[in-house]
């Protein structure tokens, strides 16, 4: 059944099965890539969850053109559910102290690369893709998911709010706290993993 984006999703159950495959197959690389950012090594399982849920609810999809956003929303919720189920007890966080934390000032004060004339950029340059993923995965999913969706994948806060069925104000508050946690985690990770040694450069 040559279902084309923009057509209405309808037809017999056999057609629907094939229609679902046509719509979803081309999105698998994108969905996997997003899931890697959201749940790391559980990405494949999250996408598998997403495929089964999406197929169950395929009748709810009105327009084929809406399929990418619809699949993304289902995937994000599958990732959130996995994050909830596997969440480790979060480290105690003093949010007042966190609010006062500034990575910019911390780098300037600690001056990890005394011979650098672009200290802050050199700090960020120490982080490879694996380091960044590790930092993000150390954040509680409550904060990690909006942070990834908005600042790495370019969604608007209101789109994320729709995906998560949460008020926009809640998403904005989580983004604020998530950014602060991210900044502090960047510093802690750099310290714990030897990225601040001049010799590592």
């Amino acid at each position: 059944m040559g279902l084309v984006l923009g057509e209405t999703v309808e037809g017999s159950s056999a057609d629907r099965g094939e229609g679902f495959r046509v719509l979803v197959r081309e999105q698998l690389p994108r969905l996997y890539s997003l899931a890697r950012r959201l749940v790391g090594d559980e990405a494949e399982d999250a996408v598998q969850d997403c495929l089964l849920k999406a197929y169950e609810r395929f009748h709810q999809l009105q327009q084929a053109a809406a399929a990418p956003a619809w699949m993304t929303s289902i995937l994000v919720n599958c990732c959130r559910d996995r994050g909830r189920a596997n969440a480790r007890r979060p480290r105690e966080v003093d949010f007042d102290e966190l609010e006062r934390f500034s990575l910019y000032r911390k780098i300037a004060y600690e001056d990890p690369f005394p011979y650098s004339d672009s200290l802050h950029l050199d700090f960020l340059a120490e982080f490879g893709p694996e380091d960044l993923r590790a930092v993000l995965l150390q954040l509680p999913p409550l904060y990690r998911i909006p942070l990834v969706l908005v600042y790495m994948d370019g969604y608007l806060a209101k789109e994320v709010a729709n995906m998560l069925d949460a008020p926009v104000g809640t998403v904005l508050a989580r983004l604020h706290r998530g950014r602060k946690l991210f900044e502090r985690q960047l510093w802690d990770y750099a310290e714990e993993n030897g990225l601040l040694r001049e010799a590592s450069r």
Binding site: L28, L124, A157
Partner: protein, 76 residues
């Protein structure tokens, strides 16, 4: 004028344009007179670029094959 703490607390919201006009004007008035907070602003922009430009993981062939198999096995 708002304090440095108040200005830096809202820098990302300022860049995201998710604050109201009065808050935006207060931050801009502060930035016009505070060099350190301009440094904070530039670093916030760098951090955003750092996140936005990070490489995507491509799905390995075996993972794509397994996901494709799941699709094929869905009951009509």
């Amino acid at each position: 004028m708002i304090s440095c703490a108040e200005a830096t607390r809202q820098l990302w919201e300022y860049l995201d344009a998710t604050i109201d006009v009065a808050a935006r004007d207060a931050i801009e008035a502060h930035l016009a007179r505070c060099r350190r907070c301009c440094g904070e602003l530039e670093f916030a922009k760098e951090l955003r670029r750092f996140l936005a430009s990070s490489a995507r993981d491509e799905a390995p062939d075996d993972v794509l094959r397994r996901m494709d198999q799941t699709l094929e096995e869905l009951e009509p």
